[in-house]
């Protein structure tokens, strides 16, 4: 969270270095309000490259997102944008992993409480299914090129993850209590070996976003955006009685997705460049 605040404040300061305070307040005005639809491709990836499986075959699934956006003019060529998007980002993947460490929670069936964990290393083939349905709030600065059509943007976002699924389904291989140790051979997927970490995923996310947008026709814009989360998708401190372990996997996984949007400006009250012309 601290990182996000730093980035957002940093972005604001950069902007302020371009636009003087006098002009800022002078030129501050409501600019646009519009609606948009789009789709996202992506999921969650390990933050460290060495944890990315050596064989990894993703199968992204695309769903339509809907949202609204608005912007205000800050200075000539600069807008401040704010959006609210409802979207589902889903991806499955086949992967060949080696000595992947997981702390499988031991959940009391009656109470639903986590009582401990099973530390185990898995090697072999697994299918991963992840899905995140969220309300995403990006806030960004947008620079409008002099032609009034091309725009680039940079900023941050916050997201409320309303529903998340993260299931690992080993297909074949083995598990062991230590690396390169075979305790159990897995010959075929089964309910016993399937690991559903959905309930241990985090409910919110934040990160940065940047992208490019172009006005195709009047009021109609097409945009390409990248979102990179800073926050692990899993909750922490799920094993309260054990200080040595606080989450499912030994590494962090963060959101990473690309977004394609088409927006329509319902209201356009002001434009620096248009006015300039």
């Amino acid at each position: 969270m601290r990182k996000i605040v730093i980035i957002l404040i940093g972005g604001a300061l950069c902007f302020s270095s371009i636009v003087s305070a006098e002009n800022f307040w002078k030129n501050l005005s409501f600019n646009t309000f519009g609606v948009q639809i789009g789709t996202d491709v992506g999921g969650a990836l390990p933050t460290k490259l060495e944890f990315i499986p050596k064989v990894f075959r993703p199968y992204p699934k695309m769903y339509m997102s809907i949202g609204a956006r608005t912007s205000i003019s800050l200075a000539p060529g600069w807008d401040l944008g704010l959006e609210a998007n409802y979207k589902t980002v889903e991806m499955s993947a086949d992967a060949l992993v080696e000595n992947q460490l997981a702390f499988a929670p031991n959940v009391n069936i009656e109470t639903g409480l986590v009582q401990g964990y099973l530390k185990q290393y898995f090697s072999g083939q697994a299918t991963m299914n992840m899905s995140f349905t969220m309300l995403e709030i990006p806030l960004y600065a947008k620079y409008v090129f002099p032609n009034g059509k091309d725009k680039i943007m940079f900023g941050g976002y916050g997201a409320w993850v309303m529903r998340a699924t993260f299931v690992t389904d080993p297909q074949m291989g083995y598990t062991g209590s230590a690396p390169d140790k075979v305790d159990v051979v897995i010959q075929a997927p089964s309910d016993v070996t399937r690991m559903d970490f959905s309930r241990f995923t985090s409910k919110w996310d934040a990160g940065i976003t940047f992208g490019y947008e172009r006005e195709l026709y009047q009021r109609i814009n097409i945009g390409l955006r990248v979102y990179a989360g800073f926050k692990d998708i899993f909750q922490r401190d799920i094993f309260p009685n054990d200080d040595s372990v606080d989450k499912i996997l030994e590494y962090n996984m963060t959101h990473m997705r690309g977004s394609l949007t088409i927006s329509y400006d319902l209201f356009r009250t002001h434009s620096w460049w248009r006015d300039k012309k």
């Binding site: 990182k3 730093i6 980035i7 404040i9 940093g10 300061l13 992506g42 990836l45 933050t47 490259l49 990315i52 064989v55 990894f56 075959r57 993703p58 992204p60 086949d94 060949l96 992993v97 080696e98 090697s123 072999g124 083939q125 074949m172 291989g173 083995y174 390169d180 140790k181 075979v182 051979v185 897995i186 010959q187 940065i208 990248v226 990179a228 800073f230 990473m256």
Partner: protein
């Protein structure tokens, strides 16, 4: 500024990672990564090499990799000293080509805590699949056999006693028994060799075995390859002697191993130039082999052999037995006839023994042969004897005398002389004495007794050696008498002889169906041939049919040939007609009042149909005459060609006509009797309706016959139509002011009776139907119809009814609720305007098996006229009503 620097650092780090991850994701999702299904699933072992064995003194053989069961077998030399020690060794396990790594094993120190333990490890394939392998230690097979298989004796002390060359081994009792029937103690045995199980050895070396008494039992310990040992008991046994007096208490089966096998006995004289071996006699009671030897001279009684006489004997000891005291093939020397040599036969199984002797026997001639035969005389002289070919058959014990001729001159007396073997005598025959022979095959039996008492039966036997007639044929056959029931049958009296087919054929020139035939005949057969069995020519020979045959067996004179002849008849009667056709059928003399049509002859179904169109008052009868194929005959209802009067029940419209009661059957049989066909005469009642041509009219509005019209009371609907000289019924639909606003023109069978109370249901006033008992198939009518409007149609209706109510109460209104009435068949036609006169046909569809008693036929200008509906002006002409059958 620090704050800004921190922001820059964070952005730099995050964005750098971000782009890296995006790049990875792009590459992976772009398909550059390896396909999972292309990764190898090989979890096999490429090699398993034992590097070092750390357990002292242990050796391992080449490991065997059993891929199908995922086991590596390591053969190990197990010694007793490694039983309780861990087995530790190092090995190099090489993954197979596609396998990736070996897990869960320390290859530099593989430890087995016991030989039965299994050590496991895992082989992981490139695609992540893991497979568990096991290492198993196996032992090389070690024999536990510690048997003594053979015990051979090299020498013994004292040397004079009889000892078996090999001891008797009782495996299940671990005993070795040295057989010595006449052992004396102390007794020492030096083994030659002791044969043990493969890999086994004696624990201690055996030089000599010394027995002080018969009860001494020595022990011999044998160790198997696996180290286990077994102790064997060595003892001396005498065997229980079998003496003559106890032979009787033992069965032959028990004595069998102790007796000499005569089949294998061979005696060989070592001085064959001087003496000659004759035979050997084995006496199992006296336990003696007597070798009969004579001096090597002929025809002399000086048969005693020259001494000393050396010979050898060989025979096979029976299973389980051993010969002690004589080694097969050893020379036995005899200096006198009384010398004997002894030996034992020992039954090792039962422990009993027999003492046998070998001695010499005095030879006597055993030949009882006839060496020569001389015929001294015979009578009568007409019996010719082939003296030159008299044969002595020693194997048969016969002297065979051939007779050439004169066999009918028996009995024969023969006088002869015979010469027999040296020192033999003859019983029941005296040289020079006549003996009688009554026929060929007669014998004279006698016996030749050899010197040693052996008797051999002999006989003198006559055989025929001349030439006899071999033919067994019938030479002639002449019928001398014959009888038949009608005396019509004629035949050729001389039978035809076919010697090749062995048949005698009597030709019947006119069969005339005149059977049975009985004949007597004279028959000549081959010279001196005879008839075997029943000679049918001695009595009447009966033929019940032309196909009957009789057998005559003729045997040749030499009795070598027997022919079976067949006496048969051959029918030469000219061929008769086989046709059985009906060529004509006429009907005459029909009962009074009845009218019939010309008979309808159906050759396909063989039915003659007589159609009755009008009925009389009495029974129905007619005379039927049929003409048939030439020579064919009639039977059944029709006989003869002049015709037969056929009678049936009366036919009327008051009694239902049942066709089943009006059939007759007759048959036609062809002249030759081979073909008979059956015909059926069927009487069909096919009446027509009265005034069917509408030519009779009471007046211009009242048709004759049974026809009627409704409503003519108030308005004239039906009138007589005229067209030239032809008349027809003219039906017209009109307004009917009183009854209704409409009345259809109509014509029907029955009558109409006005009833004021039924004015609104005109059907109730219409009494349809008249008595009628036939079953027409259809109704045709000449019709001309012009509708009065666009919707009207004319109609024709026919019902065949069965009424079983009280007589005189028949009432039918076509309403459907009439009592006691069943509609058995019906038909209806509705039609529009015709092009002038047209013939309309209404088929009758029968729905019941009941017989009709009434018929209802109705014509209407308006097909809904019974509902008082139709078009005024509709006009129908009706003529030539015809029922079709």
């Amino acid at each position: 500024m620090e704050f800004l620097n921190e922001i820059v650092i964070v952005l730099k780090r995050k964005t750098g990672k971000l782009f890296a991850m995006l790049g990875v994701a792009a590459v992976l999702s772009g398909g550059a990564c390896a396909e999972l299904d292309r990764l190898s699933n090989d979890t096999g072992i490429g090699g398993f090499m034992v590097d070092s064995v750390f357990t002292a003194g242990l050796q391992m053989d080449e490991p065997q990799i059993a891929d199908s069961v995922s086991i590596v077998f390591i053969p190990i030399e197990f010694g007793t000293f490694v039983k309780d020690t861990n087995i530790v060794f190092s090995a190099v396990i090489s993954p197979h080509h596609g396998a990736q790594k070996v897990l869960n094993i320390k290859q530099d120190s593989i430890v087995f805590q016991s030989k039965d333990e299994k050590v496991s490890f895992f082989m992981v394939a490139e695609n992540g699949e893991a497979r568990e392998w096991f290492i198993e230690l196996t032992e090389k097979p070690r024999s536990s056999e510690k048997e003594i298989l053979g015990f051979f004796i090299k020498s013994h002390t004292p040397a004079g006693v009889l000892v078996s060359d090999s001891a008797y081994i009782v495996p299940n009792k671990n005993k070795v028994q040295i057989i010595s029937p006449d052992v004396s103690f102390p007794f020492t045995v030096v083994p030659d060799s002791i044969v043990l199980s493969a890999g086994a050895r004696l624990v201690t070396t055996v030089e000599a075995l010394e027995f002080q008494t018969l009860d001494d039992v020595l022990e011999l310990s044998v160790m198997a390859e696996d180290g286990t040992t077994k102790n064997w008991e060595i003892s001396v046994i005498l065997g229980y002697p079998i003496y003559d007096e106890i032979n009787g208490s033992l069965s032959n089966e028990q004595l069998y191993p102790l007796n000499v096998d005569a089949a294998s006995l061979q005696v060989n004289l070592l001085d064959t130039g001087t003496n000659r071996y004759m035979r050997s006699d084995i006496d199992s009671v006296e336990n003696r082999i007597t070798v009969v030897v004579k001096k090597n001279t002929t025809k002399t009684r000086s048969y005693l052999p020259d001494f000393p006489l050396d010979l050898t004997i060989r025979f096979n000891a029976r299973q389980g037995s051993e010969i002690l005291g004589y080694t097969m093939g050893d020379t036995l020397t005899f200096n006198t006839m009384d010398d004997v040599h002894a030996f034992y036969i020992f039954d090792r199984v039962n422990g009993i023994k027999k003492r046998w002797k070998i001695g010499l026997g005095e030879w006597q001639n055993s030949e009882a042969e006839v060496l020569d035969f001389s015929l001294l005389g015979s009578t009568p002289g007409k019996i010719e004897i082939d003296v030159e070919n008299i044969e002595i058959e020693s194997s048969l014990g016969q002297i065979i005398i051939p007779i050439l001729d004169g066999t009918d001159q028996f009995p024969l007396k023969l006088k002869s002389e015979i010469t027999v073997s040296e020192y033999a005598t003859v019983k029941d025959f005296v040289n020079g004495v006549y003996y009688d022979f009554n026929e060929i095959g007669s014998t004279k039996n006698f016996t030749v007794v050899a010197e040693d008492g052996t008797e051999k039966p002999w006989s003198i036997r006559l055989i025929f050696a001349g030439t006899l007639n071999t033919a067994a044929d019938v030479e002639s056959f002449v019928v001398t008498q014959k009888t038949t029931p009608a005396n019509k049958l004629t035949l050729n009296t001389t039978g035809i002889i076919d010697k090749a087919a062995k048949t005698i054929t009597v030709q019947v020139t006119d069969f005339s169906d005149d059977m049975p035939l009985q004949i007597k005949a004279d028959m000549a057969i081959s010279y001196k041939a005879t008839i075997a069995g029943n000679d049918i020519t001695q009595d009447w020979i009966t033929f019940n049919s032309v196909s009957d045959t009789h057998k005559i067996t003729v045997r040749s004179q030499d009795e070598a040939t027997t022919n079976e002849w067949t006496l048969r008849l051959e029918d030469l009667t000219p061929e008769k007609n086989n046709a059985a056709e009906l060529t004509g059928f006429t009907v005459s003399n029909v009962a009074s009042g009845y009218t019939v049509k010309q008979p309808n002859v159906d050759h396909v179904n063989r039915i003659v149909k007589i159609s009755v169109t009008e009925t009389g008052s009495g029974a129905f009868s007619f005379k039927a005459a049929a003409t048939v194929s030439e020579g064919a005959k009639l039977s059944g209802a029709l006989t003869g060609t002049s015709g037969s009067q056929l009678s049936f029940d009366a036919i009327s419209n008051s009694t239902p006509f049942d066709p089943n009661n009006y059939t007759k059957s007759f048959s036609i049989t062809s002249e030759d009797g081979t073909n008979t066909v059956n015909w059926t005469i069927v009487v069909s009642y096919e009446p027509q309706l009265a005034n069917s041509d509408m030519s009779i009219w009471t007046n211009n509005t009242t048709p004759g016959g049974d026809w009627a019209s409704a409503n003519n009371s108030y308005v004239t609907l039906t009138t007589k139509g005229t067209e030239g000289s032809n008349t027809y019924a003219r039906l017209e639909a009109k307004k009917a002011p009183v009854v209704s606003t409409f009345a259809a023109g109509n014509l029907f069978l029955g009558y109409f009776q006005m009833n004021i109370s039924q004015m609104n249901t005109p059907k109730k006033m219409t009494y349809f139907g008249i008595p009628f008992t036939a079953k027409p198939l259809s109704l045709t009518t000449d019709i001309s119809y012009t509708p009065g409007g666009s919707t009207d149609k004319g109609s024709i209706e026919i019902h065949l009814l069965h009424y079983d109510g009280p007589a005189g109460q028949f009432e039918y209104h076509t309403i459907g609720d009439e009592a006691n009435i069943t509609v058995v068949g019906q038909g209806r036609a509705e039609f529009g305007a015709t092009n002038g006169w047209e013939t309309k046909t209404v088929n009758v569809e029968y729905t019941s098996d009941l017989l009709p008693t009434h018929i209802h036929v109705a014509y209407s200008t308006s097909y809904l006229g019974d509902q008082l509906k139709g078009d005024v002006g509709s006009l129908m002409y009706v003529d030539n009503v015809k029922l079709n059958y």
